[in-house]
Amino acid sequence: MLPIKIDYKRCNGCGICERNCPGDLIFMDQATKMPVVKYPEECWLCGACRIDCPKECIQIVFPLISL
């Protein structure tokens, strides 16, 4: 399940999504400096990661059982 889809071609590695996520799901990778969704199944589907993204590169994709 991957409710948070990040377009890494547009992402600037600012880390705002990691800061905003209330659930500790997103981790900035030390090597690539890109955000990784480490706990996708714990997603609240709240959109806090997306709301301040300066590059608008986050898509929320609802898992099938939540539709």
């Binding site: 905003n20 209330p22 714990e42 997603c43 609240w44």
Partner: protein, 556 residues
């Protein structure tokens, strides 16, 4: 070996959501040192994460309904005397007008641009249009920024575990950093706990445990901490169920009924009228209750019906309300293939939980000064009983901040924590790293949800409740076998520990209360009527692994 960090402050606020941030901002006004701790990033922490659309306000603008008297009279009837109205009067009524002004001064758009008046709506049988419809997407970030600018010290990504108590007084709290694993000890003259709602203990109708109405990352930590520190919690047996879109526990009901939307069953009947004379304009409990009976009796599925609304009402609802309160609402509609203005939207009864909806009577017992029964410990927001809703929680937090600051200003020195207490808690926190057990926190939390939904959910009976309590006690033993690999696991394990304690409290309260009250919230098959001699609150304390129950008569 994990680093150990000690922080000394005047006022410690545990929980950096809407209530906690307001508490910290207020406590700072007298120049005290204030520490705000949250396991998230604070900026958008808590239920306010991505925004809110309704702000409950009594503004005394002229009409009779817009007065404290009318509001409080209604609120007292709503809570059936199980909430001390003195609290709502002091923490909320005395602060709300000024809070709305403060938010406008901060640049939060409480009115539509270019408009003179607030847009205010009413729902759930309120006697007046108390809900300001506003764009709250920047609300939490704004108050977070103000708190930081004011000099509140932020401690993010720290999960607080327990309070430190010396000679019966709260002297601080301990926790750990969820990324580094470092151990944190906070010492303070006063502690405010504001960790919000408790959820994730009941099965989620979608099957996704974190797909919850209010923040899934709030698991009753303040409530559990209060019990462990010798404080009191009340009315835990009342579990809230609400109506949400099918498979997606999003806030929507308030907006829908507030704009005149309907609830219909599979036959197209506006079924809520069968359960309350005011139908969808009736009290909140009538909707999940009605939906439950309709589904049980085979007249489901049930739906939101917005098709009859005017174009401007639809536009307001679909553009300014639904996606503001739930940022991903339109993603859900698009991906599910629903046009909410043109199609029926299937609904469901949500997972059970303890949120601070307006009318909630469950949580930490405090007085109108936000004091718990433990000296030095204050509580505000969704974790405490007094006033619900976002605006209520913000005022509650602000009040707690003011009171805790007054207390801290009087206290000349900080009492030392007991070293053995710290050592004991520290050992317990990190024990899961050493375990070679078979279970992850997921396994055990799934089991908790199964127990709660099987025995402690809607339609309770004495035998079922006793069986449930037995299962919860068994689960406590397995709890000692859960392993952790990192700080995130440790955080979830501690959340589970708090949920388990709260769940036992629910069982104890539900067994004691031999009546039915608040619709689905506490429905005893064996005592299906609401009884006058049960016009009282259950109060729980916890010592040496045992709950003690006492009763407080309904406030007159």
């Amino acid at each position: 070996m994990n680093k150990e960090c000690w922080v000394m402050t005047d006022v410690l606020v545990v929980g950096g959501g809407s209530a906690g941030t307001m508490a910290a901002l207020e406590a700072r006004k007298d120049g005290l040192e204030v520490a705000l701790v949250d396991k998230g990033g604070i900026y958008r922490s808590g239920c306010g994460a991505a925004g809110n659309d309704h702000f409950l306000a009594v503004l005394e603008s002229g009409p009779d309904w817009d007065t404290p008297e009318v509001f409080l009279k209604w609120y007292k009837r709503l809570t059936q005397g199980l909430v001390d109205i003195k609290i709502a009067e002091k923490v909320y009524i005395q602060r709300i007008k000024r809070l709305v002004e403060e938010l406008e001064e901060m640049g939060i758009p409480m009115k539509d641009p270019g408009k003179e008046d607030y847009i205010r709506t009413r729902s759930f049988a309120q006697p007046g249009d108390y809900f300001i419809n506003f764009d709250g997407r920047a609300l939490k970030p704004m108050i977070s920024k103000k708190a930081e600018q004011a000099g509140v010290k932020f401690f993010s990504q720290i999960a607080m575990v327990d309070l430190l108590v010396t000679e019966g007084k709260v002297v601080g709290a301990v926790g750990f950093h969820i990324r580094t694993g470092d151990f944190y000890v906070f010492q303070a003259k006063a502690v405010i706990i504001a960790t919000g709602n408790a959820t994730r203990m009941y099965e989620n109708p979608s099957g996704l445990p974190f797909n919850t109405w209010h923040s899934p990352y709030n698991t009753g930590t303040a409530q559990a901490m209060t019990l462990r520190a010798g404080g009191e919690v009340k009315n835990l047996e009342f579990v809230n169920y609400t109506i949400t879109p099918k498979n997606f526990s999003a806030s929507a009901l308030n907006a829908v009924v507030g704009m005149g939307g309907h609830l219909v069953n599979a036959k197209g009947e506006r079924y809520v009228f069968k359960y309350h004379e005011n139908g969808e304009q009736g009290p909140r409990w009538a909707m999940p209750w009605g939906t439950y009976v309709e589904e049980q009796e085979g007249r489901g599925p049930c739906y939101f019906d917005l098709r009859h609304l005017s174009e401007s009402a639809k536009k307001h609802l679909i553009e300014h309300l639904l996606p503001v309160d739930k940022n991903t609402f339109m993603d859900y509609c698009e991906q599910k293939g629903i046009d909410p203005g043109a199609d029926l939207m299937e609904i469901q009864i949500s997972e059970g939980q303890h949120p601070a909806f307006l009318g909630s009577v469950s949580g930490i017992f405090v007085d109108e000064m936000c004091r718990t029964t433990v000296p030095g410990l204050y509580a505000g927001g969704a974790c405490a009983v007094g006033i619900g809703s976002l605006a209520g929680s913000m005022c509650f937090g602000q009040s707690a901040g003011a009171e805790a600051a007054k207390y801290a200003l009087q206290k000349p020195e900080i009492l030392d924590p007991l070293p053995e207490q710290i050592v004991e808690i520290k050992q317990e926190i990190y024990a899961p790293y050493q375990r070679i057990g078979d279970y992850t926190y997921n396994d055990v939390e799934n089991k908790l949800r199964q127990i709660m939904s099987d025995y402690l959910s809607i339609s309770r009976s004495e035998e079922g409740l006793k069986a449930g309590l037995q299962e919860l006690n068994k689960l406590q033993e397995i709890f000692e076998q859960i392993r952790a690999d990192n700080g995130h696991d440790l955080m979830r394990i501690n959340e589970l520990s708090d949920l388990l304690l709260i769940s036992k409290g629910i069982a104890v309260g539900a067994l004691a209360r031999t009546e039915t009250r608040f619709g689905l919230s506490h429905y005893r098959r064996d005592f299906p009527e609401t009884q006058d001699d049960w016009n009282k609150s259950t109060h729980l304390t916890y010592r040496d692994g045992e709950f003690r129950i006492s009763y407080v008569p309904a406030y007159s």
